[in-house]
């Protein structure tokens, strides 16, 4: 699968994630409303009975009041408990098991108890509130949770399926366009390779000592242009087909490879009068030669591209890595973390697509290499590639 299709798949998954998240919010809200509704039904089912209990208590406290509290025995019942509170919510007498009373409600649940608050027409014994308390066996809660889980899961599955179908439907035209574009790029790059290789091969066969310097200069320009196209072709090919390119692991002599790549870019470096210093130390790496060459090519190409006219490139190798330092425009400190982003170009003064360092990071990731960038604006940029000790 191509990169573009992968990102399309990623967008699809992100969209689905968001869709499921919103669905979950809807589900949570409806579950909560369902729970509240069921609770109201259960509470209402107890209401007639609670009203009867309250009536009994009020009748009894009326008798107590009329006796001017000579009869001061508060009624007790086996199937409910009660309490009386005054207008300032001060407890007059209580047999309740919980004192958490919500005076703003009439019928409510507190813990595993149901409270019903009745206000008598007259405040016998000063009681503005008569509170009746009964036990709630909470069997209904289990049934509600079971229903929420069952229907919620079904709803979630249905919504996920519907979302996937809709996303596929909406993204189909985009997917087709991306496929078309990918195929176009693949075909174009393939068609570019043959003529560019022919140009480069023919330039190499020209004996420059036999032709006037003016013509040599022109041939060098053709050579640079052809190598630039070849470089872009290789980058695009890697980007589009890297998953299909198998890696051939071998022991690479980094010094030899760097020398070959420097030689390849020599004409380009000469055109900007850039001198290349090479500080060698034995350096080997087990990886795919072509991919490491791609990595080096991109680093060298950047070092030349963003260097000053008459600048310098310092290449240093060591046992566990190598570094390429230029004397160019540098990278602002806050931008260093972003430079591996695909299609990002910090400086548009030079050509390119902003894919070079993205390819570098992809290859480094594949072979477990670390990339470290040290840079000072208008002074230098040093890219160090290191690998773990064996």
């Amino acid at each position: 699968m191509d990169i573009n299709l992968l990102s399309e798949k990623k967008s699809l998954l992100s969209f689905l994630g968001l869709y499921i998240f919103l669905t979950l919010i809807i589900l949570s809200l409806s579950s909560f409303m369902y729970y509240r509704f069921q609770k109201e039904i259960v509470l209402s089912s107890h209401l007639p009975k609670l009203q009867e209990y309250a009536k009994d208590v009020i009748h009894r406290i009326r008798q107590m009041h009329e006796s001017l509290l000579e009869d001061n025995y508060y009624p007790r019942y086996s199937n409910f408990r009660s309490a009386i509170y005054d207008a300032d919510h001060v407890r007059i007498f209580s047999l309740l098991q919980t004192d958490r009373i919500d005076f703003s409600s009439v019928l409510y649940k507190v813990g595993d108890k149901i409270h019903f608050i009745k206000e008598p027409e007259l405040y016998y014994l000063g009681a503005k509130y008569v509170i009746i308390e009964i036990e709630d066996d909470e069997a209904w809660i289990t049934a509600v949770y079971k229903n929420i889980f069952t229907f919620g899961s079904l709803f979630l599955l249905f919504m996920a399926g519907l979302g996937y179908f809709l996303v596929k439907l909406f993204l189909r035209p985009m997917k087709n366009s991306i496929l078309l574009l990918n195929n176009f790029i693949k075909d174009t790059t393939h068609e570019l390779n043959t003529p560019v290789s022919t140009i480069l091969a023919n330039i190499e066969t020209i004996d420059k000592s036999q032709i006037p310097p003016k013509i040599v200069k022109k041939i060098d320009r053709i050579d640079i242009a052809a190598r630039t196209i070849s470089h872009i072709y290789k980058d695009l090919t890697y980007l589009l087909l890297h998953e299909k390119i198998p890696s051939t692991i071998e022991q690479i002599d980094i010094n030899t490879l760097l020398e070959q790549r420097v030689e390849y870019f020599k004409t380009l470096a000469d055109s900007k009068k850039i001198t290349i210093e090479f500080h060698k130390a034995p350096s080997t790496l087990k990886a795919d030669r072509k991919k490491i060459a791609r990595l080096i090519d991109n680093l060298l190409s950047n070092a030349i591209k963003y260097n000053k006219l008459g600048g310098k490139i310092i290449i240093t190798t060591s046992k566990e890595g190598f570094s390429i330092q230029d004397t160019g425009v540098g990278i602002p400190k806050e931008k260093i973390d972003e430079i591996f982003t695909r299609y990002l170009r910090l400086n548009s003064s030079e050509g390119g697509f902003g894919i070079g360092l993205h390819i570098v990071s992809m290859i480094a990731k594949e072979f477990g290499l670390s990339i470290d960038i040290d840079s000072k604006v208008d002074k230098y940029t040093k890219v160090s590639v290191t690998w773990p000790k064996k």
Binding site: D86, A87, D88, F93, Y123, G126
Partner: protein
């Protein structure tokens, strides 16, 4: 020292007796029981704040519309607000229902 203690005791006794001195004798003479009046106020005003507030308001500014005890003519009490407050506090403590229900 003994004088000071005696004076304090006298003050406390005088304070505790405000209701008995200022209200009870007159009500007994007129045959108007205080306990039913208290329960009538409780029936309409419920809380300590409500009962004391309504009684104070009626005793200081009698209003026939707010009269709960309807027997006999309206009697204009001659009592200063400070003494009235003390008497009402003792009245509440004597007849309140909180703590007396079993």
């Amino acid at each position: 020292m003994a004088k000071k203690i005696a004076l304090l005791f006298l003050c406390l006794t005088l304070y505790a007796d405000t209701f008995d001195r200022a209200c009870v004798p007159c009500h007994q003479r007129r045959g108007v029981a205080l306990k039913p009046i208290f329960f009538d106020y409780l029936l309409y005003y419920s809380s300590e704040r409500g009962v004391k507030g309504a009684m104070r308001e009626f005793l200081l500014r009698p209003d026939p519309k707010k009269r709960l005890y309807k027997k006999g003519p309206i009697y204009r009490h001659r009592i200063d607000p400070g003494t009235l407050q003390k008497a009402l506090d003792e009245y509440w403590e004597r007849y309140k229902v909180i703590g007396k229900i079993k």
